[in-house]
């Protein structure tokens, strides 16, 4: 048998990927009448749109039509019902690059050339281009979110020691290799089929329908695969699809909108950059007594998914640590920049940095070992509650921590690194350890639901559909493994199919690491429904008890005294059909136990926690600020992994993505608010040489989930990205070594050579 649950089966599309046969939206054959689209964009970051004249655009060669806000028959809103984020700006422009209209033409070149002929008259208004300015002006997209427990003011006052510090981290471009793209095909009555590279097919359906004034049942979203998502196609894909749908509905012709890389980077949201300021109170042993932290996120111009990002950030400040008295305030700052959005980790990576920074500073103040203080402050098993009221149980922190230290040979290498630093006046090496606790579930309980649709055909082949999207993370193979396990058939009998709102409706986005947790269970339910029908039929047909029927190795065994019978799975399927048994079923799952009070910021938002630990070694050049990650040792809790090969890929890839965010990936806006890092030539994601030269990854073994997750597996999409925090800690350690450990180190991220050098200079100045 091949490809059962827990088998390290390779990605179902691997051979199609390597032979170039995997189809992405831009590869779909185009009907002859297809039109190609380009966007008209705002040239300014902030202003009043006095006039938008698309007549010169329409008059350009090859152009069929151009549309702006006034051409939208339904609501000019791409943020879902009840919100207000226009597809095309109406009276105000809110960021440089904001879409104002769309042009469709016979060729892509004609569309792109014509878009430049739009006459745009914007009366500039003052733009807010950074978080500090937004905070000063109380420019927010929502009211601040506060997590509060105990009496942080009193606890802080009575604490033997207090430290106040500030730092900041930048945002991050998703840089999915396949840019945003949608292909909308109108059919009878103007109904639409929309191929979208989206993580949220249902939202695409809703947005297209709302723009057009359609009932939802007139739009079908289809998603075979994404060429990478990482959160960047959770909400952003919707407006791109919506723009294509608008043009398709208005012209009655198929319309493809594929954003060129620079347009994609200029118009779509990114990971939120954060500014931090905190005060931590602690005792002589280094035990944290109180934390008072302010996290200010750069939301960009609109709400988008910022509420969720800020909620996850403030609920992840605690990370691995027990904080008895705590106040965490998350501000969502409105700036005239791209509207920041989901990105793998969804605020979690930004949240956990606070305590890592605080503990390094406490250790410096007390002259203690920072890692001993980390362990000292860990949550205890069973009893401790997070600041938002969830009990921390199934606590694998001590195990992960011990294993990462042992894998990385902390004690030996600490001595080795110190000796190196003693001998080399120019280069300094640094070590970092990081413990991880990450909450799994959407913070909003209602989103934690999923559906699946399974058909068994009379030859025993199985078609699988569910609400999750395949974006490279291996969701389709994992869910197929679940179904193979239910029917005890070879994985090759199962055909995963394109996600479609026509097959499984009302779905949640594939996000928050929940894809296999939710869809795996939904598919299990569907498959098990069919299986139980088959069992019931076979029991009656063969005159045996249901318990005498066993599915195994692609066969069905009927245990009958004196005459055991073995059928192939397909033979039984055919018998069921002849016996008029339905071989198609839907499955549905909702995550149990979770609840959340968004106003009080309390509850049990997470079904369970995922744990991990990482050790990283870096080297820095104290003359240039250049750095390199020399080694990483990671331990990640995947429960009883559904697919260790896929999970290993998620861990390695997530870590490197996190490393990029914290080191080389820098977004840079000029004084006018124009993003200037809009392609891989200017925005640098890690390359193969940047991966740790020694890169050891272990899945925490013998750790089946205590909660009833699908086959006791755990989510893996986001948590490993946070393990890269160890790189940031290691860089600070190297900088401390370069400056004689005389002061605590402030290192803003991304730690580009320039920021590393600045951190060294700052520490040297402070030490004088």
């Amino acid at each position: 048998m091949k490809g059962q649950a827990h088998a390290p089966h390779r990605h179902d599309s691997a051979l199609k990927h390597v032979t170039g046969q995997a189809l992405y939206i831009d590869d779909i054959a185009e009907p002859p009448s297809t039109l190609h689209a380009a966007l008209v964009s705002s040239p300014l970051a902030s202003g009043r749109l006095r006039r938008l004249d698309l007549a010169p655009v329409t008059a350009s060669p090859g152009v069929v039509a151009a549309f702006a806000a006034g051409d939208i028959p339904g609501h000019n809103n791409v943020a879902g019902p009840g919100k207000n984020e226009p597809l095309f700006a109406e009276e105000r422009v809110e960021y440089l690059g904001q879409p104002l209209g769309i042009v469709v033409a016979h060729s892509l070149d004609a569309a792109r050339a014509a878009a430049e002929h739009a006459v745009i008259d914007v009366e500039p208004t003052e733009a807010i281009l950074d978080v500090a300015t937004a905070l000063a002006r109380q420019s927010y997209v929502q009211a601040p979110s506060t997590v509060l427990r105990g009496d942080p003011d009193a606890a802080m006052k009575s604490a033997p020691h207090r430290i106040t510090a500030e730092f900041s981290v930048g945002g991050q471009e998703h840089f999915y290799l396949e840019g945003q793209v949608a292909f909308a095909l109108p059919g009878e009555d103007g109904d639409l089929v929309v191929h979208s590279s989206t993580q949220h097919p249902t939202e695409v359906q809703h947005v297209c329908a709302e723009l057009l004034g359609y009932d939802f049942n007139r739009v079908t979203t289809v998603v075979r695969r994404l060429g990478g998502g990482f959160g960047g196609k959770e909400s952003n894909a919707s407006w791109i699809a919506g723009a294509a749908a608008l043009a398709a509905a208005k012209t009655g012709r198929p319309v493809k909108l594929r954003l060129p890389r620079e347009t994609d980077m200029l118009t779509t949201g990114k990971r939120h950059g954060f500014d931090y300021r905190y005060t931590v109170g602690f005792d002589d042993q280094g035990r944290v007594l109180a934390l008072d932290a302010v996290l200010a996120a750069d939301a960009g111009w609109s709400l988008d998914l910022t509420p969720g990002v800020v909620a996850r950030a403030v609920t992840h400040v605690d990370n691995a640590y027990w904080l008895p008295h705590v106040r965490i305030v998350g501000y969502a700052c409105r700036t005239n920049r791209q509207s920041n959005t989901a990105f793998r980790g969804f605020g979690g990576p930004q949240g956990v940095l606070v305590m890592e920074d605080a503990i390094d500073r406490i250790a410096h103040r007390l002259g203690r070992d920072a890692n001993a203080l980390r362990a000292l402050n860990f949550y205890r098993e069973g009893g401790d509650e997070t600041p938002y009221g969830q009990t921390v149980d199934e606590n694998h922190l001590p195990r992960c921590w011990a294993e990462a230290r042992q894998m990385g040979e902390w004690d030996r290498r600490r001595a080795e690194v110190d000796a190196f630093n003693e001998a080399n006046p120019v280069l300094k090496r640094g070590l970092g350890l990081f413990p991880l606790k990450f909450g799994i579930s959407f913070n909003l309980p209602h989103m934690n639901q999923a559906g699946a649709l399974v058909h068994v055909y009379t030859d025993g082949s199985i078609r699988l559909n569910h609400g999750g999207t395949e974006m490279g993370q291996g969701l389709f193979i994992k869910v197929a493994q679940v179904v193979a396990e239910v029917f005890k058939v070879d994985i090759d009998r199962i055909r995963p199919s394109a996600t479609s709102t026509a097959e499984v409706p009302n779905t949640s986005p594939t996000a928050a690491s929940t894809g296999s947790d939710l869809n795996g269970w939904a598919a299990w339910e569907a498959a098990n429904t069919i299986k139980q029908r088959m069992v019931a039929f076979a029991a009656e047909h063969f005159g045996v008890a249901p318990a005498d029927i066993a599915f195994a190795d692609g066969t069905v065994r009927i245990a009958k005294p004196g005459s055991n019978q073995v059928l192939s799975f397909g033979e039984l399927a055919r018998l069921c059909w002849l016996g008029r048994v339905s071989l198609s079923a839907t499955g549905y799952y909702k995550t149990p136990k979770i609840h959340w009070d968004g106003a009080a910021m309390r509850g049990r938002p997470f079904f369970y926690f995922s744990f991990g630990a990482a050790m990283a070694e870096v080297a820095i050049d104290t003359l240039t600020g250049e750095s390199r990650v020399l080694r990483a040792d990671l331990v990640q809790d995947c429960g009883a992994s559904l697919n260790p090969a896929i999970d290993l890929g998620q861990i390695e890839g997530g870590f490197v993505q996190g490393q990029g965010w914290l080191t080389c990936e820098e977004l840079w806006w000029d004084g006018q608010g124009r993003l200037r890092t809009i392609g891989p030539s200017t925005y640098k994601i890690p390359g193969s040489r940047d991966v740790p030269a020694a890169f050891n990854v272990r899945l925490l073994d013998n750790a089946p989930s205590r909660e009833a997750t699908i086959f006791r597996s755990k989510a893996v999409g986001e948590p490993p990205l946070l393990l890269a925090t160890a790189v940031w800690t290691a860089l600070k350690d190297a900088i401390a070594a370069a400056t004689g450990r005389k002061t605590a180190v402030r290192l803003d991220a991304p730690a580009t050579p320039e920021r590393v050098l600045a951190a060294i200079e700052r520490a040297r100045t402070a030490a004088r």
Binding site: D26, E178, R261, R628, L757
Partner: protein, 476 residues
């Protein structure tokens, strides 16, 4: 020129059969009819040939999703970016795409199988590009050491895997026996496509075309100019392609110097340059990527006159001279005198750069260079620097120093040289601050550029002392 005219014969004698672009694609001869020679190879593959395996990830030659392989007559396989290559450049070449790797029976090529077996694909969008890079690497007989593999992979970005399994697959396929192309394509006569894309075969033809088409852009490797067609979607109206002019593609070496034709690719220029100036080997490995170095040229890097080009600072420091030719004759010009202002050069409208001559080091001389960037591989320099020094008893007697990224043009720093020779490194660092007023941009602030450039002089001083400890993180 509309296609088909020549088929009717008649008076249009200047249009020859040769004036269709011909090349070999996946073992099949191809003839392009009725398409602009400025069409990118990627657009042609995807939109006209219907081969969708090759992807557009960035349209600027940086991500490698569009990688295809050129199979040279000498058996060399070179990866290149199809997104910034113009069809006219492909004339006479042999090209393989991801669709041309599988065996007739459909089994995956060993390189494809190795990638799948190593779990080296996730979303799969970058994968065809990686597969083609791996194919070129595998057939080159190179060793599987990590440094070589990273060098080979520097032109391909993956956002999903973290590269570890890709590197593992590369290790598997190193040195794989791969058959040479079954069919050769060649063009020997000068060609002109569409009266817009001119590919002269001699210097005389080149100069005549330059005179006849003063507005035509000189096209070397298209690694910069190709972006007009790919990213800006505004291809030049006319170009003169330099790749087939023997005088511009010659490499010559004497006991005194190395001469590199202006249209010699970085890939070809590296061995002779690195042999004489070992510091240039790691430096050149950081210039673009293999895909870029397959096509890009020294002459192009100089001719575009970017203030952040990698080669001008090191070549100025080395004392390189340009040979400039025109119908009026030839002249020699020190490279440092070539750059007049931001993107302005001393090249006359009828002139071309024929070659670059780099004087070899004297017995008492040494040469070093540095490049600072956010990412080590395939990044544009924040600061680049070259240092040619004559040293006697540990003291610098003569120095030629040049910097990029520090001014509107790549510049020699005479005042810094003088301070170094007369008063040592600390004085040189002070002089550097007085010499340059760099700008703030996304690669770095002016303050960082100045400080880092000064610190590079400190690194240089340490290098000359040959300490027992490592001086660069890459050495660890």
């Amino acid at each position: 020129m509309p296609a088909g005219l020549h088929e009717r014969g008649g008076p249009i004698t200047v249009v020859r059969m040769a004036d269709r672009i011909r090349f070999v694609l996946n073992d099949q001869p191809v003839e392009i009819d009725g398409l602009s020679p400025m069409t990118t190879l990627l657009d042609w593959l995807r939109e006209h040939r219907g081969l969708k395996g090759t992807k557009e990830g960035c349209a600027e030659g940086d991500c490698g999703a569009c990688t295809v392989v050129l199979e040279r007559p000498d058996g060399k396989h070179e990866a290149m970016n199809s997104c910034i290559a113009l069809l006219g450049q492909i004339d006479g070449l042999v090209v393989r795409t991801v669709e041309g790797l599988q065996a007739a029976g459909g089994e995956p090529h060993p390189v494809q199988a190795a990638m799948a077996d190593a779990d080296a694909t996730q979303c799969g969008f970058c994968t065809p590009g990686f597969v083609m890079t791996a194919y070129a690497f595998a057939s080159g007989g190179e060793s599987a050491d990590p440094d070589t593999i990273h060098d080979a992979l520097a032109g391909n970005l993956c956002r999903c895997t973290g590269y570890r399994p890709i590197v593992a697959a590369m290790t598997q396929v190193a040195g794989l026996p791969i058959e040479p192309p079954a069919i050769a394509a060649a063009r020997t006569a000068a060609a002109s496509f569409d009266d817009r894309f001119h590919a002269p075969r001699s210097l005389t033809e080149l100069l005549a075309l330059r005179a006849a088409h003063p507005d035509a852009l000189l096209l070397a490797g298209a690694t910069d100019l190709g972006l007009l067609a790919s990213r800006s979607r505004k291809p030049p109206s006319a170009v003169i392609h330099l790749a087939y002019v023997p005088e511009l593609t010659a490499v010559d070496e004497t006991s005194k110097d190395v001469t590199i034709g202006a249209a010699v690719s970085y890939a070809r220029a590296t061995p002779p340059l690195a042999a004489s100036f070992p510091a240039l080997r790691p430096y050149l490995s950081r210039l673009g990527s293999r895909q870029i170095r397959t096509m890009g040229t020294l002459g192009g890097n100089i001719g575009t006159a970017s203030p952040i080009g990698d080669m001008p600072p090191v070549l100025i420091a080395l004392g390189a001279r340009l040979k400039l030719v025109s119908p009026r004759g030839a002249r020699e010009l020190a490279l440092e005198s070539f750059f007049l202002d931001y993107r302005k050069t001393a090249l006359a409208p009828d002139e071309v750069i024929e070659n670059i001559t780099v004087p070899k080091l004297e017995a008492d001389e040494m040469f070093f260079c540095d490049k600072l960037s956010k990412r080590r591989d395939q990044d544009i320099s924040t600061v680049a620097a070259g240092y040619r020094l004559a040293v006697e008893h540990g003291r610098v007697r003569r120095a030629r120093l040049a910097f990029g990224g520090m001014a509107a043009t790549p510049r020699r720093a005479e005042a810094v040289e003088a301070a170094l020779v007369n008063d040592g490194f600390a004085a040189a660092a002070r002089a550097l601050a007085a010499t340059f007023t760099p700008i703030d941009d996304w690669r770095g602030t002016a303050a960082y550029r100045l400080q880092a450039a000064q610190n590079l002089l400190r690194r240089l001083e340490l290098r000359m002392a040959s300490p027992a400890y490592a001086l660069e993180v890459e050495a660890l």
